[in-house]
């Protein structure tokens, strides 16, 4: 090759390399890079068909991705399987292939109608995928030169690096896009958060208003109470108190009342308010001090824990009631009953005694005059019943006022019960009922520590009560030792009681068969069980309904301490406790 021609060729090569490299350096997408590459090479090297083929390792196919010299339809159809293709072979051998007059079947069918005179196959490696092959065809009698191959090869290397850069940039762009998406997402979340915050703030305002209104309603409600109320947190800090509390304590409404002030005001040796509150908050137990002297007033103090829905204790509510008036009224009533009963008993005793004497002294006369006899007997019977009623009232009055005197001594329970059974046999025979003692259980029973008369009165009450509600069968008495106590069971085959009726037992003026709101005045005062309960309690025992089934009968029981050296002390302690408990009922 003459020197000037060689120089021209070199310059042309440099020119092409420079220009195409410059163009490729400026493109940012794969399609444009491939198009520039193919068209520039075709234009500069008089190539009639230039096709850039991409080999896809994933699905094993090849596809034209840029080209010149084929129609668009032909370009779209330029595809096939990689395996066994000339492109696969070129890429695997990794070196350019020049062919003159290629044999039929070597090149894809889609370009078989071209009279291809010479071919250059240029492999283009890639970091992504399997790679590319540039297919260059000339349709005229002009073979590819080694120089063509070298220059096109350098350009192919440039394309490879360009595509790798673009893919990297695409990846970077993708990452940036993802980042932007995430930033947008965060911005959306921020907006949503702002909305949520605004919503929460609105709810807080609404809720605050609701709480304020609820507080006003609550304060109005507690202010309307006659009972003083103090509500505290668990740390005894005051949540609220009402006007009644200030009034009861004689304080101005402007004075803030807390537990410390309350304790100071109610200072008494009879109870420790702080300790009671502490215990209430620790164990959840209520506390109730029924009578607290406060100047010339008597107060009742009640405390209860404040619990959440899940039962956690978060504070204490203390209710203070001025019971001065109630106490005065109760004492007046008791005194009235006592005085009235005493005043009634004297004439009644006289009526009973005189009518009894008339029946005895004028027995023969009265036999002849039956109507007169019945009238006198009626007077006598009424007097007896009235005396019983008056006695009940007197007993009740004495018990409630703590004025009933108990004379304790070791008592044979068996003897007491036998005497009562014996006395009442007449009544039972008239009703065609049995009354019996389960003797084995009474044998060798230890003596109990009791007031014999009161004990007898209790047994009378229980047997008499059972007799009232038993129409068939009868009553059986049993006894058993239970530690330091003897338990006596009164078992009847009477009507029994409904569960509702059972709840009403042992209340003042309450008959076993009655409802809470109605009573049968022909069946006694309804004080029998109540008095029995107070008496048993005074003697250190308890009274209870063991069981009761409608139409099958009931089982009542009472306990009484066994007489020992220590019994008197125990009785005093227990009876005090029981009486205190009863007085709260």
């Amino acid at each position: 090759m003459p020197t000037d021609i060689a120089l021209e060729a070199s310059l042309a090569s440099v020119s092409i390399l420079y220009q195409i490299s410059s163009e490729l350096s400026q493109v940012e997408d794969k399609a444009t890079a491939c198009t520039i590459f193919v068209e520039s090479i075709c234009r500069n090297f008089s190539i009639d068909l230039g096709i850039l083929v991409e080999l896809d390792g994933a699905d094993g196919s090849y596809q034209a991705i840029a080209g010149l010299g084929l129609t668009k339809e032909e370009m779209n159809q330029f595809s096939g399987k990689v395996a066994g293709s000339v492109f696969d072979k070129t890429l695997q051998e990794a070196r350019p292939v020049r062919l003159a007059s290629p044999k039929a079947g070597i090149l894809p069918e889609i370009i078989s109608h071209f009279s291809i005179q010479s071919v250059l196959l240029m492999p283009i490696a890639s970091k992504q995928g399997s790679g590319y092959v540039l297919l260059c065809c000339r349709l005229y009698d002009k073979e590819f030169l080694f120089a063509d191959e070298r220059v096109i090869g350098i350009l192919a290397t440039k394309l490879s690096s360009t595509l790798d850069t673009i893919v990297s940039q695409d990846n970077l762009a993708y990452a940036e896009q993802k980042l932007q998406d995430q930033v947008l997402e965060v911005q959306k979340l921020n907006l949503a958060l702002a909305d949520e915050k605004a919503d929460v703030e609105r709810q807080v305002v609404e809720r605050t208003q609701q709480l304020f209104e609820e507080h006003v309603r609550f304060q109005s409600s507690i202010d309307s109470l006659d009972v003083g109320l103090l509500m505290t947190f668990k740390d005894s800090q005051t949540i609220s108190h009402n006007a009644a509390l200030s009034k009861i304590l004689g304080l101005s409404n402007t004075v803030k009342i807390d537990v410390a002030l309350l304790e100071e005001k109610l200072l008494t040796s009879s109870f420790d308010l702080m300790k009671a509150i502490e215990n209430c908050q620790t164990t959840g137990e209520l506390f109730n001090i029924s009578e607290v002297d406060y100047g010339d007033h008597i107060l009742s103090v009640f405390g209860a824990p404040v619990r959440t829905q899940d039962h956690n204790i978060i504070g204490t509510v203390i209710l203070i009631e001025d019971i001065t008036e109630a106490k005065i009224m109760a004492r007046s009533k008791d005194e009235f009953f006592s005085i009235a009963s005493h005043e009634l008993r004297t004439p009644l005793t006289s009526i009973r005694g005189n009518s009894s004497m008339i029946l005895d002294y004028y027995k023969d006369l009265l036999i002849k005059d039956t109507p007169l006899k019945e009238m006198v007997e009626d007077v006598y019977g009424s007097a007896v019943r009235l005396i019983e009623i008056v006695n009940d009232f007197l007993d009740l009055s004495r018990l409630e006022q703590g004025k009933m005197v108990f004379t304790y001594s070791p008592v044979s329970l068996q003897t007491v019960i036998e005497s009562v059974v014996q006395e009442m046999q007449v009544v039972f025979r008239d009703k065609n009922l049995y009354l019996k003692m389960d003797d084995p259980t009474f044998d060798s029973l230890p003596k109990v520590w009791a007031d014999e008369d009161r004990l007898k009165q209790v047994v009378y009450n229980l047997i008499g009560n059972a007799a009232k509600f038993t129409d068939n069968g009868g009553i059986t008495l049993k006894a058993q030792v239970m530690g330091t106590l003897i338990k006596v069971l009164v078992i009847d085959t009477g009507r029994g009681m409904t569960p509702e009726s059972q709840q009403l037992l042992f209340r003042k003026f309450q008959q076993a068969s009655s409802s809470l709101l109605t009573r049968d005045s022909t069946r006694g005062t309804g004080l029998g069980l109540y008095i029995s309960k107070m008496m048993v309690a005074s003697m250190g025992g308890t009274i209870a309904l063991e069981e009761s089934t409608e139409d099958q009968g009931s089982v009542f029981s009472f306990t009484i301490p066994i007489a020992t050296a220590e019994t008197p002390a125990i009785i005093v302690h227990q009876s005090t406790k029981h009486m205190a408990h009863l007085s709260r009922r």
Binding site: I16, Q19, T71, C137
Partner: protein, 395 residues
């Protein structure tokens, strides 16, 4: 019958319609049953009237053509003339088509030309036998003819070769027209798809040679080169040619610069020539007849009347050789208008040489063009400057 062709000329400037009839009539005297008519006319003619005159005789025979600074008719040059070539054939298959609005979207214009393919049934024969004859408006400074050519090539593929030239007025650089059937268009491309049974001959050569060192076009926009080697283009160009930029009479720029075009080296060793058309003192840019891509390596070309004449003879011989022994029926020439100016009194010598090479009995018609289109030695079509293009249709 195979293929025959005849040409007719009119210089009847006063009556364009009559001129069209006259030229067509002359041609038709020699042949019958035309399959394609080609017309070139200078700016003195009223295009629509002239075309109507032609079609009054040709009827629905497909017609394409364009306006030009000067007409080539056999071995003569006419600055005021209307030439018609009529081709009759029972073997040629001809379809005509057009694409408009080149200055707005040159790619879309090229794509429109693709409709020619769907309008014709093109056999799968060798591209030597299939030629797209194309005339496109080259007068718009913003129009990028290369884009139209490339897109057309995408549509047609390598099964077609291209030949043609850019239409222009008489160096006023204002407006040119393209003709297809009865339509007179501007800012358009018109084309005829000519398929023959035997190879057709095409060759484009310029005769310019590179000289001196190479430079890089560092900033360019279409046809406007703004910087060379990083310096203002005009200053660089003039300094390199030892011209005093302050004293130079820029009204004579084209006359001077047409003797010093730029060449872009191709891989084949050939140069694509770019003809400097005008200079701007304001921004120191140089506008060329055709676009120069940014980052192109260029060299200043030099030539002589002898080298240019020699190139056109070579082009003629190569085109004739392309017929592969078949006699020629018609020779079409697209010769750069700058060659006319440069060769001056020897311009007709170039045509005489071409005609002698192909055959004195072969009618020859053509025009002086603003850019020549074609495929030189294979590959995609290119837009050439200062080139002589010869296209020979076989009998």
């Amino acid at each position: 019958m195979a293929t025959t062709a005849a040409i007719g000329l009119s210089q009847h400037v006063g009556d364009s319609y009559q001129a069209g009839i006259e030229a067509t009539h002359t041609a038709m005297e020699k042949i019958a049953n035309p399959v394609l008519a080609i017309v070139f006319m200078t700016e003195q003619y009223e295009e629509q009237a002239a075309t109507s005159g032609i079609r009054s005789l040709l009827g629905d025979t497909p017609l394409i053509g364009c306006t030009a600074p000067s007409l080539i008719f056999n071995n003569k040059i006419y600055a005021d003339g209307l030439g018609v070539a009529i081709i009759a054939s029972d073997t040629l298959k001809v379809t005509v088509g057009l694409g408009e609005n080149m200055s707005q979207d040159a790619v879309a214009t090229g794509k429109s030309l693709g409709s020619l393919l769907t309008a014709s049934t093109v056999p799968k024969v060798h591209p030597k036998n299939q030629v797209l004859l194309l005339f496109a408006d080259a007068s718009m400074t913003k129009g990028v003819v290369s884009d139209t050519l490339t897109e057309a090539f995408h549509e047609f593929g390598s099964f077609f070769r291209f030949f043609g030239g850019g239409s222009a007025d008489n160096l006023h650089f204002k407006k040119s027209f393209q003709i297809i059937n009865q339509k007179i268009l501007t800012d358009a491309a018109v084309a005829a798809l000519i398929v023959s049974e035997t190879p057709q001959g095409i060759s484009l050569m310029h005769g310019w040679e590179a000289t001196g060192q190479a430079f890089v076009v560092t900033k360019a926009e279409g046809k406007v080169v703004k910087e060379i080697d990083g310096e203002p283009a005009l200053n660089f160009y003039m300094n390199h040619l030892d011209k005093d930029t302050q004293q130079f009479d820029y009204s004579q720029f084209y006359a001077f610069a047409s003797g010093h075009p730029l060449g872009i080296p191709m891989g084949t060793g050939e140069y694509v020539v770019r003809d400097p058309l005008s200079a701007s003192l304001e921004d120191q840019s140089i506008t060329f007849v055709s676009e120069i891509p940014e980052n192109s390596i260029v060299r200043i070309m030099t030539g002589s009347k002898e080298s240019l004449l020699s190139a056109s003879v070579s082009a003629a011989n190569e085109a004739k050789a392309g017929l592969e022994g078949k006699p020629a029926a018609l020779t079409l020439v697209a010769d750069c208008v700058s060659r006319l100016l440069y060769l001056d009194d020897q311009a007709e010598t170039e045509l005489t040489n071409i005609r002698s090479s192909i055959g004195e009995d072969v009618p020859m018609i053509g025009f002086f063009s603003f850019g020549e289109f074609g495929i030189e030695g294979g590959g995609p079509p290119a837009l050439y400057n200062k080139t002589c293009g010869v296209y020979v249709i076989p009998q």
